[in-house]
Structure formats: structure tokens, C-alpha cells
Symmetry: C2
Subunit: 377 residues, 2 copies
């Protein structure tokens, strides 16, 4: 750190240079984040100093948080939901599993997740010091219910279902998981970090949320398909006491207990999420999701024309393409044409997320480049 500070002009130059070295989302087909909506950015900046860690100092921002949690609850069929704005899916999932641990009296607890669960569940197993058992998938990359049942033992404290898997955009049979959870008196957490702001706006309707009695908590990320700013996640609990299992006593604040993972917590994200959800309404989200699904269908059609098939027909705006040597193809797409795609773990395939920063024109260009590489081999 320098003794003397630098000038505003010098700082601007340095920041501009750094910014110009970022990729820009226009050619990114691998990300589940995108440019936040303008109204989200404006609200974020307006509430930049707000700290939800000490809500007594920010009762105005805190009232927005209560409202935004209610809005999410209503969206997911539970009007009396309890939760808060997290830093994202990982924190939301940590907190859901921590509630399971804190409310159980099992010495070596385990939680059953699908093999398709986000890698953060490995991280969470390490953080919480619990076992995460992986249930097998069926041929459509949904969790296999028989496999889930066979993994339940006396140390099992909960199940996780995925509504919008990171790799396949697939939705697990949450209704069956709900039945199993109720039968076995287990928690059922739904990781809808990506799907939470997609599934309710699809033309096809799916039962994946609090409409199912066995679902005890849901994670959904406003900073993914909610078009809010980073860091904006959401954790929702059906029952007040499940949020209460996370309480820590907080001396020297305006509140006496705190259920969040972090202490100081962004009120800017709260305001941003409130702003974009209020501004778009269901209609606005439905329109953007339709736009993403149009891009998705175009991409699949175009891929088929050049002889590449998807592993499954896309459920949402995530596509997996069955190609030879996907790792090399991925590297060449990036190095030769500047396209960013990613790869699924098993089977290895090209994975593409069709976010609203993409355009039909850019997808055409992408397909042309893909064809060149596939044909040349």
C-alpha cells in the first residue's frame, strides 16, 4: 500500500483498464448470472450504506426485506414464509442444512442430495462436518427416487431436491421427495437457486415449491434469473422455528438475536431485489423467461441442424450438447472465437446457459463457429 494516495484521474484510468480486461457477458454462455436490471442497480446505489446486520438502524430497508421475502414466499406458494436475503445459493444451502443439524440429535448426521447437486454441497459437507450422500440420477438426469430411499438410514436428517440443476436445468421429482420426507419425518430443502425465478414463469407448470407439504425450505437467487445485484440470495423457511434454529445471541446491536450467516449484511442487495421484483412483476419475468426460452429453442434447433443433439430436451434455459471431446471444443471455442461455454461432469457434454444478455444474432454466430470446429474436427 502506497504512502500517498493516487489522483482521481489515475484511479479512473486504472479502473477503466481493469474493466476493459473483463470478458463482458455478450459471448458468455456458461454463466448463471447476467447484467443486473437498471432499477436494481439504481436502488442498490441508493441504499449502498444500509447494513441489514443491524436492522434497528435501517428500519426502512428492513421493511423492504420483509416485503421482498413475502413476495418470494407468495411466488413459491407460501404467504407466511420466514427468511432473509443471503449472499447467494451457497449461504442459503448452508443455512438450510444447518437448520437440519441444529434441530436434530444425531451424532453423525447425513443429508441425501442428488448427484446433480451443485458443487457447493461438497463445500457445505466440509463446513458443517456432516456427510452428504449422493443419490443416483435417472436417464433424464432427475434424481432416482429408489436410490434416495435406499440411502436413508437412522442418521439421515434431511433430503435435498434440485429445481433447476446447474448442469442440466432439470427439475427433480420434488412431489415424490416431499412424500418421502413426510413419511420419514425428514426435512426437505429445495435448491431452486437458478430455477426459483424461472420455473414459475415457464409455460409448463411444475410442482416444486411450498405447494408440496413436505418442502420445508427453498433457496432461490435474485442475482441469477431474478436480475438483481450480487450478492442477492434468498432462503425461505415454511416454519418460523426452522429459521430460529439459526439464531445467535447478538449483544451490542439494535437486535438481540441474528439468524444470518454473515454479520454485516448488504441492505443495497435488499433494495435492489425489492426494486426489480416490484418493477417487473410476474408479467415482466414471464416475458424475459419467454425470451430466454426462445433463445434456448433456437439454439437446440440450430445445433440439431449441424448434427449435434441435446442430452435432454431443455426444461429451462440450460442446454447440454452431446459432442465429441467437449473439453477441447470448449477450449477452442474460447481461444479461437472468444465464446465461453462450460462442461457437465457426467456425462461430459457442452453446457450452455441462455441468459437474457444473449441475442439471436450472437447465437447464430456461435452456431457458425461451433459448426466450423465440429466439421473440421
Amino acid at each position: 500500500m502506497n504512502e500517498k494516495g493516487i489522483s482521481n484521474q489515475k484511479l479512473t484510468d486504472l479502473l477503466d483498464t481493469a474493466k476493459s480486461n473483463d470478458v463482458g457477458y455478450e459471448r458468455v454462455l456458461s454463466a448463471m448470472c447476467t447484467y443486473p436490471h437498471d432499477v436494481a442497480v439504481q436502488a442498490h446505489t441508493k441504499f449502498i450504506e444500509a447494513n441489514m446486520g443491524d436492522p434497528g438502524l435501517f428500519p426502512g430497508t428492513y421493511s423492504l426485506e420483509k416485503e421482498v421475502i413475502n413476495m418470494m414466499g407468495q411466488l413459491l406458494h407460501c404467504s407466511s414464509v420466514h427468511g432473509y436475503i443471503t449472499t447467494g445459493g451457497t449461504e442459503s444451502n448452508i443455512q438450510a442444512l444447518r437448520t437440519m443439524v441444529n434441530s436434530s440429535n444425531v451424532a453423525n448426521p447425513n443429508v441425501i442430495v442428488p448427484e446433480s447437486a451443485h458443487f457447493s454441497f461438497d463445500k457445505i459437507a466440509n463446513i458443517l462436518g456432516i456427510e452428504v450422500k449422493k443419490a443416483e440420477l435417472d436417464s433424464k438426469f432427475k434424481v432416482d427416487i429408489g436410490s434416495v430411499k435406499s440411502l436413508i438410514d437412522s442418521n439421515t436428517i434431511g433430503l435435498v431436491g434440485i429445481a433447476g440443476s446447474t448442469e442440466f436445468g432439470q427439475i427433480d421429482p420434488i412431489n415424490s421427495l416431499s412424500d418421502i420426507a413426510l413419511e420419514n419425518n425428514l426435512y426437505l430443502h429445495v435448491d431452486a437457486a437458478f430455477g426459483g425465478f424461472v420455473i414459475p414463469f415457464l409455460e409448463t407448470s411444475y410442482h416444486f415449491d411450498f405447494v408440496l407439504d413436505g418442502v420445508t425450505s427453498i433457496a432461490l437467487d435474485p442475482h441469477k434469473m431474478g436480475f438483481s445485484t450480487i450478492p442477492s440470495g434468498g432462503i425461505l423457511f415454511r416454519n418460523r422455528e426452522d429459521l430460529n434454529h439459526l439464531q445467535t445471541h447478538t449483544p451490542y446491536l439494535t437486535i438481540s438475536t441474528q439468524s444470518s450467516l454473515t454479520g454485516t449484511r448488504s441492505g443495497a442487495s435488499v433494495a435492489a431485489t425489492y426494486a426489480v421484483m416490484s418493477y417487473l412483476g410476474k408479467e415482466g419475468y414471464r416475458q424475459i423467461v419467454k425470451q430466454c426460452m426462445d433463445l434456448t429453442n433456437d439454439l437446440v434447433e440450430g445445433a440439431k441442424k449441424i448434427g449435434i443433439n441435446p442430452l435432454i430436451e431443455p426444461v429451462m434455459n440450460v442446454v447440454t450438447l452431446d459432442v465429441q471431446d467437449p473439453d477441447t471444443l470448449r477450449a477452442r471455442l474460447r481461444d479461437e472465437f472468444g465464446w465461453y461455454v462450460s462442461i457437465t461432469r457426467n456425462p461430459r457434454a457442452l453446457r450452455l446457459v441462455l441468459m437474457p444478455h444473449l441475442t439471436h444474432k450472437n447465437l447464430d454466430l456461435f452456431l457458425q463457429d461451433l459448426e466450423k470446429l465440429v466439421k473440421i474436427g
Copy 2:
């Protein structure tokens, strides 16, 4: 959630109303956060979409993170430091203790922290499923070295020292803790979430950082006295392998492993922290810390004049005032005069943090109001 979105004008009105219900920092003497610096806010907004969870898409922002970690390392006497920008002190402290757990083979590990440790260490004990033992304090509210030594057993994996305790602004004898850590082959984490951006800029110099060989990691928060935006914390490790103990394998990203707690991670905070540290330089921070210490000394002097003494002479810009019935006094200061102060746990005293959002004029008004309440009884 409404079917139709609301208009931009209606949204602005709702946000304005919420904003007007927040307290505003001008009468807040209880917070360790403040208004972020203008250059931090500008940089934050400029990099609002950057996601440090996938740094290959944001190599420009990622280069700022590497630089800002180096700047913090240099500030704390370690030029080859390893770390990243966290969401704040809680995440930083979780990660420091998680490294201790992941590198040890102890079945029921414990970590020794001072009784003055931030409440987040209770939260962390619950999250990681480890025991946090509390060492007693001496008469000046520093950790008692004899107490620390007596708590070490075969399950102890690390020690924590506080450099700028939340309640007293006190600095533990980190040099003695460093010796004990080296003798017993233990980790030593220093929680300098508040003090990290204060102590290096005080007139008196203290040995509390990597200059001491036993210190293995340090937490310091740019979003407290670093004047960056929320959420900006910092975790620094002296050794690369200690950061590596936190790695999770990350398929489908531009990187293959990730050491952060969260997945998606604010690049805006990285840019904001880089901006304010570069712009202020050591000189700028020294000036602001001097301003805060002037406020602190004024407050203590004024309090003494009305017969109220501090529990200790302030080490940094945190003051504890020995008053009768502090809980009632706190409530009356808030309800009758709109001042926000807080309370220490043991002994119970008024706790005041003199942040740069305060002015000498406002402190005079505060002292007048305090005098009224103390005299009337």
C-alpha cells in the same frame, strides 16, 4: 408478488419512503460501519455485474483483487500474502477456523478465543461443530495469557487474538499469543476486523500482525474503517497451503477449484476496496484515523467533565463509559434524543464508536443530552 409491475415513479416513491425511515449515521455511536467513501461507491457501481466466483470471466476485476490483497498484506507486514475479499469478518473468521479444522486430525477440536471475541465466534462454533473455549480477560480487557495457557489441551488446534475488540477497542497481547502458538505448534488467527484499518494508522505503534512469526492468518474489514462498501471483508493467510485447505473442486466454471465460502461473489466490493485504498493511501487513512481519535479524546474529556469515566483509556476510537443502569440510559438516549449507543456485555457499560460520520458539534449535543439524563437520574 404482483401480476403487473409498478411504474418507475411509484417505485422511486416507495424507495424514498423506505430510505427516509432509515436512521442515518449522524446520530449513530453504536456502529462499526459508516458511509462508504465516494470513490468506493463509484467503483462499486462501475463493476456491479462482476462475479469473483468465476474469475476467468472477469480477469480485470480479478487482477484488482490480487492487488488489493497484496496492499493489505503489505499494510500488515507480509508482502507474499494469500487471501481474498470476503463478505466480512464473520466469513473471514469462519474460514480461518475452517483451515485449522481441515488441516488437523483431531476428533473433537477446540479453538481458544478471548472472552471479548465477537459474538460471531459462537455462531462459528455452531457452524463448524467445534468447541470455542473462552479465555479470561485482564483488568484492561486484554486476554489473560495465563488463562489461554491453562485452556490448551491435546484437542486444541488454534488460538485467536483480537486486535481492536468490538466492545472495548482493545488489542490483545498478540506477541505473547504468537510465542505460545509457536511453542505449541498451533495456528494463531488475529481478528482485526475493526482494528486492521485503524492500528497501522495510530500514533502509538503496536505489534499485532504478520510481523509476529506465530500469526498465521488475519481478518480485516474494508467495510468498517476501510471505508469501502458492504460486503467487503478480507482474509489473509501467511502460507499458501492454509488457503488451499479451503479448496472445493469446481466443475463448470472457468477455474477448477474455489477457496471462498460463497460461490457467486461481489466483484463490485473488490473494485470499491481497491479504489478507496489506492485513493486514500496510508496518508489518507492516517488523517481519518486522527480525526476519529480527536473525536474520541473530546468525548472522553467531555464525559469526565460530567462525572463519567471510561472503563479504560481508549486505545482506538471505541469508548466504554462507566454509567449506572446503562440499559435504561441507552433506551432513553434513543427514545428521547435519537442517539444510538450500545452496551458492553461484561461489565455492562455504555459503548460508543467514534466513526468519521460524527462531528465535534454532534458530540457536544450528545454530551449535553447525556448530562441531562445522568443529572436528572
